[in-house]
């Protein structure tokens, strides 16, 4: 088959940095082409060149699309050619309906007036194609992330897409939703649509990709065909060194019970009668990493946030003990004083003050630790920030860098610095490696191991099964707001976790 897209010798420089250095990318018509690389390797820049965000003339090199030279002046231009990019951060308007979003900027009109009947009819067709069973009039903010992703794809289809670019489409998705989405890509392939898939999840890539291009430091370092694909090889090419293990080793040294929760019940903040967490309980011992597995919507984040100073939900009841004594978790400051820390899954919206410096984010929780009678000691504060930067290996020229300019991995290290400086007994880590590249993930895991080696306890919430299985000493399985299984490291496996969830689902179905 002939290549549908060829990018040759693409070089793009920003003041002081060469983001892309003579990159070559060739995509065959009708294939799923995976583009992988660490954060900052140049994937997004390359896709911005391809979609016209960086117009012709602002880079060197040439592009051919369907055999014709491709010189774009903007994103409209690329969409007109059938090149559609779906960004990681979804670009939907939450308060508008599915149909309005799909045809936003591209409305079906008759004499300048929107033809709603035709709009809804076409939307229904598109939704059927992506397998989304929702009314075209459903508002976007009533849908979960997985379904929103499908709406984005339906929107792309409405523009007669020839080349679909997906930038980490499954980063925020649950295992089952991810699988659905990937199946959809395979279906599109059967219909002749070409896709470029940017992803950090190597198991997904090896499942659907026909070919892979690996970028490292702004240059193409490797390409492989389907039969050559192996995770080990991808990682080696991405990181530029052999990574024998994706998870650092740790010999568990588990002590006495540190944190206990019993019979924890939480009601929905908007619907007081809806019980979201129903009698959940767990224990964490010193030096132990305890995992919480579960499907999206199982209530894991809600459970964690309600524990952490009732920051989610209402009518919260239950008992919590820290080191044998009743713990006051009634407010966030009280929960912090009790020795609890919560590292949020949404570090940009809930974890960091993005426009402030690493220094100021690091000391935010424990300002008392760098001040006397309410007055901050600037020199002590700087020393603390430098210490944590070094201890956690945050890569930045200075602690006066704004955190908005850091990569995902380094941002996460700043969040961890902030909580470590508060010296908690138990840390709840909610999806700590979401959207972080392989190399930085390893470093985060190493930090987690250090934490438990210091005698702290860690509760790890994750949607990535391999991460849970490798990191945790014990795994709780959550389903519909209750724990439906508890597995030791020795007995835990992906199958047993799924089995526990399925058993609970069937039981639920039977009891209704």
């Amino acid at each position: 088959m002939a290549p549908i897209l060829q990018m040759r010798g693409i070089t793009k420089t920003f003041p002081g940095v060469r983001a892309l250095d003579n990159v070559t990318l060739s995509v065959e018509a009708g294939e799923i082409h995976a583009l992988v690389g660490e954060n900052g390797a140049g994937k997004s820049t390359l896709m911005k060149v391809l979609s016209g965000v960086y117009p012709h003339g602002s880079y060197e090199g040439e592009m051919l699309f369907e055999g014709q030279p491709l010189r774009l002046s903007g994103i409209h231009d690329s969409e007109a050619r059938g090149i559609i990019i779906i960004h990681q951060e979804l670009a939907l308007v939450p308060l508008l309906s599915i149909a309005e979003n799909i045809f936003l900027g591209n409305e079906i009109t008759r004499h300048g007036v929107i033809d709603w009947n035709e709009t809804f009819r076409r939307t229904e067709g598109l939704l059927a194609k992506v397998g989304l069973d929702e009314s075209p009039q459903a508002r976007i903010d009533t849908l979960g992330v997985g379904k929103q992703q499908l709406v984005e794809i339906a929107k792309a289809l409405s523009k007669r897409v020839k080349l679909l670019i997906l930038d980490e489409p499954t980063a925020a998705l649950q295992e089952t939703d991810s699988r659905k989405l990937l199946d959809l890509l395979l279906e599109f392939k059967a219909q002749g649509i070409t896709s470029i898939l940017i992803s950090h999840k190597l198991n997904e890539i090896s499942r659907v990709a026909d070919r892979i291009t690996v970028l490292r430091d702004g240059a193409t370092v490797a390409g492989m065909d389907r039969h050559e694909i192996s995770e080990a090889r991808i990682i080696r090419d991405m990181v530029g060194r052999d990574m024998a293990h994706r998870f650092p080793e740790r010999t568990p040294q588990i002590g006495e019970v540190l944190f206990e929760v019993e019979n924890w019940c939480v009601h929905h903040p908007a619907h007081a009668e809806r019980r979201v967490i129903d009698g959940a309980g767990l224990t964490v011992r010193r030096g132990e990493v305890v995992g919480i597995a579960g499907l999206m919507g199982a209530g894991r984040t809600e459970f964690a946030m309600s524990l952490f100073g009732r920051s989610w939900g209402q009518r919260i009841s239950g008992e919590a003990r820290m080191a044998g004594r009743p713990a006051d978790l009634s407010t966030i400051p009280a929960a912090i004083r009790s020795g609890l820390a919560y590292v949020t899954e949404d570090r940009k919206a809930l974890g960091l003050v993005l426009e402030e410096t690493i220094l100021r984010n690091t000391t935010l929780v424990n300002l008392a630790g760098v001040s006397r009678r309410g007055v901050i000691d600037a020199n002590r504060e700087r020393r603390v920030a430098e210490d944590y930067r070094r201890a956690l290996g945050t890569r930045t020229p200075s602690v006066f860098q704004k955190v908005v300019n850091l990569s995902g991995g380094n941002q996460q290290k700043v969040v961890l610095s902030k909580w470590l400086f508060a010296d908690p007994q138990v840390l709840i880590l909610d999806e700590p490696t979401r959207g972080i590249d392989v190399g930085a993930k390893y470093e985060i895991y190493a930090i987690v191991n250090q934490l438990v080696e210091q005698g702290r306890g860690v509760i790890l919430i994750s949607s990535e099964m391999p991460e849970l299985l490798a990191m945790c000493d014990r795994i709780y399985v959550m389903n519909k707001g209750s724990f439906v299984g508890e597995l030791d490291r020795a007995e835990a496996s992906q199958e047993r976790i799924m089995a526990a969830i399925l058993a609970a689902e069937t039981q639920n179905a039977g009891s209704v």
Binding site: F308, G309, S311, I332, P333, A335, I336, Y342, T344, A349, L350, G351, L352, V353, L354, E355, E356, R360, L364, V365, L367, A368, S371, G374, V375, I376, A378, N379, R382, R383, E386, S398, K418, A422
Partner: protein, 398 residues
Amino acid sequence: MAAPRASVGAYLKNNMRQYGMLLALVAIMVFFQIVTNGTLMRPVNLTNLFLQNSYIVIMALGMLLVIVAGHIDLSVGSVVGFVGALAAVMIVNWHLPVALVIVASLATGVLIGMAQGYWVAYWRIPSFIVTLAGMLVFRGATLWLLDGQSVGPFPQVFQLISTGFIPDVLPDVAPLFGMARFNGTAFVIGLLVAGGILALATRARARAAAHGMADEPFAFFVGKNGLIALAIAYISFLLATYRGLPNVLITMAVLILAYMFVTNSTTAGRRIYAIGGNEKAAKLSGIKTERLVFLSFANMGLLAALAGLIFAARLNTATPKAGVSFELDVIAAVFIGGASMSGGVGTIVGAVIGAFIMGVMNNGMSILGIGIDYQQVIKGLVLLVAVIFDVYNKSRSA
């Protein structure tokens, strides 16, 4: 572990925001000094400049905190009018002692701020709405209190808040300068403050250097602090040749220093910036966001009440129109000074410079006899240009 020594040029470029507005103020002053043939910096005019702008500067301090916290207070102009009217009624009609009235007026301001802050902080009613309501309510209450009339005049002692000067306790200094009228105290205080700033800056730098953290180029450090000290000494000299230091200048200076300290060096100040930068993250970091927002509104009420007293004392009467549209001058000063509409960004020094940019332009254009119509247009454009400059700078650095 010494930080890399940046050159003076590079340092200036990195801190453009901070010094850009100061340079703009200096440029505007030089411009008006030239076109008014030196009237701008004449001692009598300089004194007036401080008297005229003191209440805007004082309110800008409180408004900065409110805006940094991500809110706005539109009611301050009406509060100025209301508190002035209340004080006039209590002093002139009821003959209450001045000291008691001042305390009661300031307390009223705090209560007004708390009442508005309560809805904003604990009920999450948008501050724009709450304080727009407050603006209407307190303007109406002013009219009601005064019954539509002006009330005055005030006793001498009350007027001193605004029009009084620090008495010359050092008569021996004046002859040294061989001038008929020279307030030695004013000049000595000026020299002491200038010297104090140099000493404090030197000590802070020595401490930072001991921790290997002095990254401001030495030449720049000397130049900056030298110029500031020189400017203070020169202004105090000019004021000394007129009537000395106005009481209100002292009040203003003390408040500016206090709020600089609060925003730069206290945990409360730091937390307000965090709330404006990302309220949810601040809350999840254990910060009592509601309480701090509430307190910043209470503080704004206190400063608006103080401004109301100063303004009434300066006019020597309370009028129903007192303080009309002051809120816009105050808010403009804060934004010219580099604060961000979305919160989390802004400095006290910037807000004060912003207030003086507005004040010098008002004063200079009035001296030139430019009509109020053109003055409004020019001030509006300066606000727009200042913010555009800001946004441009930011997008370039990103």
